[in-house]
């Protein structure tokens, strides 16, 4: 589903290389985790895939089901089925959460040539999905993420994901700022979406999220590359011994 090959990216403003030949393939139905120390380029990878400004791709490719992601506008990547759950969800004063969700859902449907969802139908679906994430009516009415707690923001990201039904989901440090209960809620939300046609790339600093969202493959990232790939056990090894041993071994 997602094929990244020899990706080189630098920060435009500072002319600083961040990703230095990253390759990664995620197949449909699977969950891959990327772990790595701070500054290894994990968040850059997620932003580059989603199409944020400020990064220059100097080499390599990233394809989603054969389509060249790097050539597409952010909104087209989203309509093609890519979803990034932000590490820091953005507050948008003045835009109601419900309006935001409905605009997004209908924009994607329109881009794919489908009919827009009616207000009634939308309301029914959103209420049902919000309930599972313990998002109340009040939170749906408030402006997007404004005054939300850290946990509320992350649950709101998962609600967006559930509404948009993307095929490739990237979760960028979705566990940061979550307490144990919130982590469980968010993980349940993600697990409910797991199916054969959908893939996940879970970026995290710690192993604990992976207790709830069990990955099929774990990658260790350092200095802009994947330095080691293994099964779920690799995450446990990191938890026990830290990154130092793995990094030393990789050099």
């Amino acid at each position: 589903m997602l094929e990244i090959n020899n990706l080189h990216v630098k920060l435009e403003a500072e002319d600083k290389p961040i990703l230095k030949g990253l390759s990664l393939t995620v197949g449909a139905g699977s969950v891959h985790a990327i772990m790595g120390p701070n500054g290894s380029g994990k968040s850059t990878l997620s932003y580059v895939l989603a199409g944020r400004d400020g990064y220059a791709v100097t080499d390599g490719s990233a394809m989603l089901d054969g389509a060249d992601l790097l050539e597409m506008e952010p909104e087209d990547r989203a309509s093609a089925g890519l979803f990034l759950a932000f590490q820091y969800p953005v507050e948008i004063p003045g835009v109601g959460n419900m309006t935001f969700l409905r605009t997004a859902v209908n924009a994607q449907r329109k881009a794919r040539g489908q009919d827009e969802m009616s207000a009634g139908e939308f309301l029914k679906v959103v209420r049902e999905k919000a309930r599972a994430l313990k998002i109340d009516a009040e939170m749906l009415k408030r402006p997007v993420n404004v005054g939300f707690s850290g946990g509320e923001k992350k649950r709101n990201e998962i609600l967006q994901m559930a509404m948009l039904e993307p095929k490739m989901c990237i979760l960028d440090e979705t566990d940061s700022g979550l307490d144990v209960d919130a982590m469980k809620l968010v993980s349940d939300g993600v697990n409910a979406l797991r199916d054969a046609g959908r893939a996940f790339l879970v970026i995290t600093h710690y192993q604990r999220l992976l207790d709830h969202i069990r990955p099929d493959v774990v990658h260790i990232m350092a200095d802009g590359r994947i330095v080691k790939t293994g099964g779920p056990d690799l995450a446990l090894e990191v938890e026990r011994n830290g990154y130092a041993d793995i990094l030393a071994e990789a050099v």
Partner: protein
């Protein structure tokens, strides 16, 4: 006495205007003319006109302004049940207007009321305008009082069941129009006034609003899409105890607009909200000048002005809250913000507070900024196309001003205008 140069400008400006003497109205006009003679017309050197060049407003003849066809867009307030009064280049159009009959409301025209010896409006016409000349001169309002040819006089004793809608059509490319309205709400009365349309090539309008105890007045206007028109408007309001005043203005386009609002909160526990949303692209100069005086105890005032500017458009805000010593427990709020869609536009703001009471709560803020790129990316990452995402963020920016419209159907109409404007001015 005025310096010769200023006296000459004034003479040239009023040379072509016909002064109608006689009766109570004639007396009020003479008073206004003598005020004007002392003040002279505004000049660029005046502190109060520092950010807006009054040249086109004081020129002897109105600069020509092409009339404008709005195409497919239905007129604003089209879907609102209202009593319509239509003025074409300042002339009342009876055929296009509704029968001015509304329970609990007296509606007269200025031109005919002048013939009546005793009319309630004699206590109001030019009175609030004259009070509003201190401490800052507003010569264009005095000019209006002296020479206005038409207007409506509305007195309300109950709760008006429908809004009164003043529609100003612009038909002649050189029309130079002055309208003067007086509105008196008796104790506990309630009225909504809608205004829309450009009115003329050059439009000078005064509205005097006198609210008795507990009266509620709601004013919503849309100043028309004509690009070339020029307008100077004044709203003067006086509030007795417990009165409520709310005014919202939408300005889209117009090469020159100066909207002044002057409010006196005289009674205790009165409240005045003034809001504006202005959107300008290219040759657009929009000036909101507001002066609110708190005299009664425990009054609340709120000013919310938002401007969206691009391609060299200019926005001006001059807003003042004056809290007199008697006005303890005043709650004053003022915000003026501009959203610049490019780097060529300009926003000039002068917020002022002058406070003589010691137990008050007053806040003011003024900001100027660009579209939030992070929010824009967030929306796009969810699949919202760039232009639509930008429109959503612009409307969000304007939301605080639009929220000052109490009626949801009217607010939705205004929101729709703004969306239409944004889609016409993409890129």
């Amino acid at each position: 006495m005025l310096p010769k140069a200023r006296a000459d400008v004034l003479s040239a400006r009023i040379a072509g205007l016909s002064f109608v003497p006689g009766g109570w109205l004639g007396a009020a006009r003479e008073d206004a003319l003598s005020r004007l003679g002392m003040m002279g017309l505004p000049a660029r050197r005046d502190e109060y006109w520092r950010y807006t060049d009054p040249a086109d407003l004081i020129a002897a003849a109105a600069p020509a302004a092409a009339t404008f066809d709005a195409g497919d867009e239905p007129p604003v307030f089209d879907g609102i049940d209202r009593l319509k009064l239509v003025f074409v280049d300042g002339v009342f159009d009876a055929a296009a207007s509704d029968d001015p009959a509304l329970a609990g409301v007296e509606i007269d025209r200025l031109s005919t009321a002048a013939l009546t010896d005793i009319h309630w409006a004699r206590e109001l016409y030019g009175v609030l305008e004259a009070r509003g000349q201190n401490p800052v001169a507003r010569p264009l309002a005095a000019l209006n009082t002296a020479f206005a040819t038409e207007g409506v006089l509305i007195r309300v004793t109950g709760r008006a069941e429908r809004p009164i809608s003043l529609i100003y059509t612009h038909a002649s490319e050189t029309s130079d129009v002055a309208l003067h309205h007086c509105i008196r709400l008796e104790a506990g009365a309630e009225l909504t006034v809608l205004e829309n349309g450009p009115a003329a090539a050059r439009f000078n309008k005064v509205m005097e609003v006198d609210l008795a105890e507990g009266a509620r007045f709601h004013h919503i206007r849309a100043q028309g899409r004509d690009h070339e028109r020029r307008a100077a408007t004044h709203v003067f309001a006086r509030l007795a105890e417990g009165a409520r005043f709310k005014s919202f203005t939408l300005t889209a386009n117009g090469v020159l607009t100066r909207n002044e609002v002057v409010i006196e909160l005289l009674g205790n526990e009165a409240s005045a909200h003034v809001a504006g949303a202005a959107v300008g692209d290219g040759q657009f100069h929009h000036d909101d000048t507001v002066f609110i005086t708190h005299e009664g105890r425990g009054c609340e005032s709120r000013q919310v002005f938002k401007k969206v500017l691009k391609n060299g458009a200019v926005g001006v805000f001059q807003g003042k809250i004056l809290v007199r010593q008697t006005a303890q427990k005043t709650d004053g709020y003022q915000i003026s913000q501009s959203l610049m869609l490019d780097e060529d536009s300009q926003f000039l703001a002068k917020p002022e507070l002058e406070i003589y009471a010691d137990d008050v709560k007053c806040s003011h803020g003024s900001t100027s900024g660009a579209i939030d790129e992070t929010a824009l990316f967030y929306l796009r990452a969810r699949g919202v196309p760039e232009k639509a995402a930008q429109s959503l963020l612009v409307l969000a920016f304007l939301a605080e001003a639009i929220q000052e419209i109490a009626d949801e159907a009217i607010a939705e109409d205004i929101r729709q205008r703004l969306e239409n404007w944004l889609s016409r001015h993409e890129g």
